[in-house]
């Protein structure tokens, strides 16, 4: 139990996926213009990543490991994640159209969100158990969501600000991300995992 809590703190604050591991930068920069979209993206990522953590762990443990083909991890995982996302989309569209309307446009993006694959690979590297992996997946996505929402708030402020022309757009967003990441450095050493 203690370890699970530590995993959560580590993944959300200390080793935040976006701000200290550099995973999922593309959606972080791309989908952070409006709070509503950021929340939608966060929801979709939390959903998919938790699910993907479970599935990839199962595949790794019950397929790749027994067959001794761990090196096929990348191909196997990306296949699984891609199909998973597609599957989730199809099912959502059928049964929860309102949720699909809210998250729909973000789902295909998640396929190439390296946070998902990165999380899966990291969980295997760290030899987590099934429950730990699921918690790790959930917490990582939560960390992603936290960073995204904070960043979106800042960007909405910056969008109303007046940077020099050369820094308008991506450049100033990156500087903001740097400062946010600097703030998150304060959490370092909180837990070691």
């Amino acid at each position: 139990m203690v370890k699970l809590i530590l995993i959560v703190i580590s993944a959300v604050l200390v080793n935040n996926f976006v701000l200290s591991r550099f995973l999922g930068i593309c959606p972080f920069l791309g989908v952070s213009k409006k709070t509503s979209t950021a929340l939608g993206m966060s929801g979709a990522v939390v959903f998919v990543m938790t699910l993907a953590a479970a599935v990839t762990w199962l595949v790794q443990t019950y397929v790749l490991k027994p067959l001794d083909i761990g090196y096929m991890q990348t191909i196997a995982f990306i296949l699984i994640i891609a199909s998973l996302v597609q599957l989730v989309e199809i099912i959502l569209k059928k049964f929860l159209p309102s949720l699909h309307a809210a998250l729909g446009i973000f789902l295909p993006l998640i396929t190439t969100n390296c946070a998902v694959l990165g999380m899966a690979v990291l969980a295997i590297q760290k030899n987590f158990t099934f429950v730990e992996t699921v918690v790790f997946g959930f917490a990582s996505s939560l960390g992603f969501a936290l960073a995204l929402v904070l960043f979106t708030g800042l960007r909405e402020k910056i969008d109303r600000s007046n940077p020099p022309k050369a820094f308008k757009g991506v450049a100033i967003a990156l500087i903001t991300a740097a400062l946010l990441s600097m703030a998150f450095m304060g959490f370092s050493g909180l837990v070691k995992i």
């Binding site: 600000s161 007046n162 020099p164 903001t176 703030a183 304060g186």
Partner: protein, 330 residues
């Protein structure tokens, strides 16, 4: 008609309270004078040189960046001066001058002017500069603490050349010693090691009272911040006094007073509504104590304020006053 002097027409109101950004900033500068004097008393010429370096370089970078961006000159609003003084206050007395200039560059150019100048910066510039220096030059920021002029052989804290919080972190001084009355008194007056502007709680509180009197700041952020730290520290102290320092120790050590009075209250980067300010202050207090207690760094004031700066836009979204005549949340 055209030669005739035209009347001025604008939207109402046609009169003004007379408040200005320059006036507010001037009050903040005045409020920092006691601390500055204390710094010179305790750290001598070094404090003066360091402060002067930071102020001059901050003003220079402000002027230069506005010039390059072809925008109006804003050094008259004194905000760069405040950034410079605050940055200097956050540096140890023996800090290399060139590094202070680098810090000023980060503070003014990267954290402020790139966003468009005063009012647009999401993070406190002085803190950005300080954290940049702290994370970049960790050794210079925490290594050689021996005061340049003030060496009181009777004062053990001073001769060990470590900050009280550093000692707490490294467990070099016994908790009981750190929490005893004479030591607390020294910390309150400023006879300890630390950054030049953070040691004297007394001088800082004087400045804070001046700001409150001039209505430049409201009580919400400092009280919420310091109160949260006090409550948190008291709870820890009550749980286990042998491993946790006393609440008074936490209040007067490190940059808490400087942070709570001068940096967390920075208008641009803190929430605008009173309720938001309370949330902001409580958040700062909690984070400070969490980092002090469990984090890798001895001091968490800068980080906590910086983190809360990031949440300010969200706090502003959520914490809004109830609009007159509207039931429930707007």
């Amino acid at each position: 008609m055209s030669e005739e002097q035209l009347y001025s027409v604008s939207s109402s109101p046609h009169v003004h309270s007379g408040a200005s950004i320059h006036g507010i900033m001037r009050d903040v500068v005045i409020a920092m004078v006691p601390t500055f004097i204390a710094a010179i008393i305790f750290f001598g010429l070094n404090a003066l040189i360091l402060t002067a370096t930071c102020v001059i370089s901050c003003v220079f970078f402000e002027y230069l960046s506005r010039r390059i961006m072809k925008r109006n000159n804003t050094i008259n609003d004194l905000s760069a001066v405040i950034t410079g003084v605050l940055l200097a206050f956050n540096l140890p007395p023996t800090f290399p001058i060139w590094m202070a200039v680098v810090g000023s560059f980060v503070a003014i150019v990267i954290a402020k002017q790139l966003f468009g100048g005063l009012g647009y910066n999401p993070f406190n510039p002085a803190l950005a500069g300080r954290l940049f220096l702290f994370l970049s030059f960790a050794f210079a920021m925490s290594g050689d603490w021996t005061p340049w002029s003030y060496i009181n052989t009777e004062n053990i804290v001073a001769t060990t050349s470590a900050t009280p919080l550093g000692m707490l972190q490294e467990s070099t001084g016994s908790i009981a010693f750190l929490s005893n009355n004479s030591n607390i008194m020294n910390m309150f007056l400023g006879k300890v090691n630390g950054c030049i502007g953070e040691v004297s709680a007394l001088a800082l509180i004087l400045g804070g009272l001046y700001l409150l009197w001039r209505k430049v700041i409201t009580w919400h952020i400092p009280v919420a911040y310091i109160g949260t730290v006090a409550v948190f520290a008291t709870i820890l102290y009550m749980i286990d006094p042998s491993t946790n320092a006393s609440p008074l120790f936490h209040l007067f050590s490190g940059g808490l007073m400087l942070g709570a009075i001068f940096m967390a209250t920075d208008m641009v980067t803190s929430p605008t509504d009173r309720s938001g300010m309370l949330v902001f202050g409580i958040g700062c207090g909690l984070l400070t104590m969490i980092i002090r207690k469990w984090g890798a760094y001895p001091e968490g004031v800068s980080f906590s304020i910086f983190i809360m700066n990031a949440t300010t836009p969200l706090i502003n979204r959520v914490c809004k006053p109830r609009v007159f005549g509207v039931k429930g949340k707007a």
